[in-house]
């Protein structure tokens, strides 16, 4: 573990010693290296779009295709309810935070391994890696948000005052994504099979999150247990804030948020504890 102290004579002294057990979060270093968060996020976004022909178009096409596929399967085939809201925007509104989350599962989960060369050569707080991976998803989110607004206009859905709570739900989505991202990225360094189950995990998660269907499809007595999936609270919140769905903040949101925060805090501590081995194991 390294400790940084500034002595009376304004000199920065770093102490390096083996650390045992749980270590401090070292938020000070994270603050010192805040510019790197920006640069790495910027790099991820730039690189992602430089090589593709459609560039930023991918940020739009992917959820649109998802929406169409899900609408067909859950709507036309399974005919699950959307509470009267037009299916495309019902689904698309949920696909926005879902995109953030699934990107965190896949990209953030692999981010440590992808940046192996940096981790083994330079010091910076390693938290920055999964963090910038998740933040890169926020940019995609913003692009998709514009598309959603356009779709809402098309279907004649004017935003209500509840839309002001949207930033809070976005924050909740980021917190959830980050919690998962931290756990997965740390686990993936130590246990390589985690990387292989990510696509599988993402698929399953999509089915247990009310993206393509409304929570009213879930039997009432299971709904609180169902809300243990933190994305439930996020998706419901988004639908309520944007489209006035019946899922006003309530007990389920509380449960989901609690789980999100728990995952985030435990994720940060676990990551920090494992950080000392990353350079040796990645």
């Amino acid at each position: 573990m390294a400790q940084s102290i500034t002595t009376a004579s304004q000199e920065e002294v770093t102490i390096l010693q083996p650390s045992r057990g749980w270590t401090s979060l070292n938020l000070r270093d994270l603050w010192l290296y805040r510019e790197l968060v920006y640069f790495l996020t910027w790099r991820d976004i730039k690189v992602r779009y430089k090589q593709t022909v459609l560039g930023a178009g991918w940020a739009i096409i992917q959820p649109l295709i998802n929406m169409v596929v899900l609408s067909v399967i859950f709507g036309n085939l399974a005919e699950l309810s959307t509470e009267g809201i037009p299916r495309p925007i019902f689904t698309f509104a949920a696909l926005l935070p879902w995109g953030l989350f699934s990107k965190a599962l896949s990209d953030a989960g692999r981010s440590m391994l992808a940046n192996r060369s940096m981790i083994t050569k330079v010091y910076f707080p390693r938290l920055i890696i999964p963090l910038s991976s998740v933040l890169g998803g926020v940019v995609d989110f913003l692009i998709q948000f514009l598309i959603l607004i356009a779709m809402m206009a098309y279907y004649g859905y004017a935003p209500t005052v509840e839309i002001l709570t949207l930033p809070l739900f976005l924050l909740l989505a980021v917190v959830t994504a980050l919690g998962f991202g931290l756990w997965l990225s740390a686990l993936n360094v130590l246990y390589r099979d985690v990387g292989y189950i990510l696509p599988f995990l993402t698929q399953i998660w999509l089915l247990i999150t009310p993206v393509a269907y409304s929570i009213s499809e879930v039997p009432a007595r299971w709904q609180l247990i169902y809300a243990l999936n933190p994305m439930v609270g996020v998706v419901e919140g988004f639908r309520w804030a944007l489209l006035g769905a019946s899922t006003a903040p309530g007990l389920r949101l509380l449960v989901s948020t609690g789980i999100s925060l728990l995952l985030l805090v435990s994720g940060v501590y676990y990551f920090r504890r494992m950080e000392r081995t990353f350079a040796d194991m990645v």
Partner: protein, 427 residues
């Protein structure tokens, strides 16, 4: 304010090696271990002794502010591990280190460079990774581009750069770090002569500016040029700390054959040297006996014995001569003489000895190191061992030996002096 920049006490680093790493741990392994642990009574699972190595063991030293300290050692001696710990890339297993000031580490150039981004974008990215603030990078941007010499291509993606351009740009960014303590690991080993010269130049500027530098290298002349004191690491331990010439001498000669002959066993010869196979390198005195101390007033014979399992054309077999403190003296090949080269265009399979004679009255007293090289010009290098054998020169009887003063320099020729009296001053 303390007067040392780095203080290291009993630093140690242990790594796990071997079968353990053949397959990455799976989640199943991790979970089953976690579940079984309560049954093992909560003791931490002991690491089996034969699965670990100590990359560093019991290393203690201090670096004063403004000092430029060299670090030398064979591959695997622990140099890179030491730098990684001091750069906070990895943690020590035991021990303690104290660092006063900001550390900038150059363990590799171009860390974080992404091939899809342009030179300009990579400068900012790499600078940020190295710890520079954006304003700092902006301020130095023009200097960095100038230093790198890739101005015309600064806005092309780096994947289009030649390797030389890439290196120059990467080094240019790194060269403009301004940390109080600079930790450098053999960055200079890559790149062409021009690049290496530039790197050395910049390093010596940095050293002169009064920054503390920890410099790891295999390049003995760089060590000698830039550092005043050097530490020698051997198998993870600190063997010696001494003024650089002494430390380099110790390092070069400590493992070397000293009996006047160096033999290579079959397993010591890398497989890709075939069909060339070195057998022995010898230093012979005027009577043809192998010796480890020779008179400078006598001619010295060096011979390389080798075998070829297949014919090679254009082969040249030669030696490097170096002073033990690291200074290169000469490189010479058996077919340097054009006439000899033409007559021996192709060497058939067989057993050979290439022998040369260093004239008498050439070398100065001191210790020397001989290396071997077998190659074809610009095509392939079959075998090289730069530090194969050492020998001493005893300068008794050499010109000027009636005065017991050390004369610097590797050669001590007997020159043809004449003293003419141009005019006499008589009282």
């Amino acid at each position: 304010m303390s007067n040392y920049a780095i203080r290291v006490e009993r630093l140690a680093k242990r790594y796990q090696i071997g079968a353990q790493l053949d397959h990455y741990r799976t989640l199943r392994d991790g979970l089953s271990e976690a579940l079984l642990r309560p049954m093992q009574g909560w003791r931490r699972s002991p690491t089996p002794k034969d699965n670990t190595i100590w990359a560093l063991r019991d290393v203690t030293f201090e670096v004063r502010k403004g000092e430029v300290l060299g670090v030398v050692g064979r591959n695997g001696a622990g140099k890179s591990t030491l730098l990684k710990i001091l750069s906070r890339v990895t943690e020590p297993t035991e021990g303690y280190a104290e660092i006063h000031g900001r550390v900038g580490s150059l363990l590799e150039v171009g860390t974080g460079f992404h091939p899809e981004l342009t030179g300009r974008e990579n400068i900012f990215l790499n600078g940020a990774i190295l710890g520079m603030k954006r304003k700092e990078i902006e301020r130095k941007f023009n200097e960095i581009v100038d230093f790198s010499g890739v101005e015309k291509f600064i806005d092309t993606p780096v994947k289009r750069y030649s390797s030389g351009m890439y290196l120059r740009l990467a080094f240019a960014v790194a060269a403009h770090m301004e940390p109080e303590i600079l930790v450098v690991d053999e960055v200079l080993a890559v790149g062409d002569a021009e690049f290496q010269r530039k790197c050395l130049g910049k390093m010596s500027d940095v050293a002169q500016e009064g920054r503390t530098v920890l410099f790891v290298s295999h390049n003995m002349s760089a060590i000698l040029r830039l550092t005043r004191e050097t530490i020698v690491l051997e198998q993870g331990r600190l063997e010696l700390r001494a003024p650089s010439p002494q430390a380099v001498d110790f390092y070069l000669t400590s493992g070397l054959a000293r009996s006047g002959e160096r033999r290579w066993k079959a397993e010591e010869v890398p497989a890709d040297s075939a069909p060339f196979c070195p057998l022995a390198l010898r230093v012979l005195d005027v009577q043809g006996r192998t010796a480890d101390t020779l008179r400078s007033t006598d001619p010295i014979t060096l011979e390389i014995e080798y075998s070829l399992s297949a014919p090679i054309s254009g082969l040249r077999v030669g030696i490097y001569l170096m002073a033990a403190h690291g200074e290169h003296i000469f490189t010479a090949f058996d077919t340097d003489d054009a006439h000899l080269f033409e007559s021996l265009e192709s060497r058939l399979a067989g057993h050979y000895v290439s022998r040369c004679i260093i004239p008498a009255d050439l070398l100065n007293e001191g210790r020397y190191v001989v290396g071997v090289n077998a190659s074809t010009f610009r095509v392939r290098r079959y075998f090289q061992d730069e530090y194969a054998l050492s020998f001493n020169i005893d300068a008794t009887g050499a010109p000027g030996m009636q005065w017991t003063e050390p004369r610097p320099g590797p050669i001590r020729p007997r020159l043809d002096w004449s003293i003419l009296e141009k005019s006499a001053w008589r009282s």
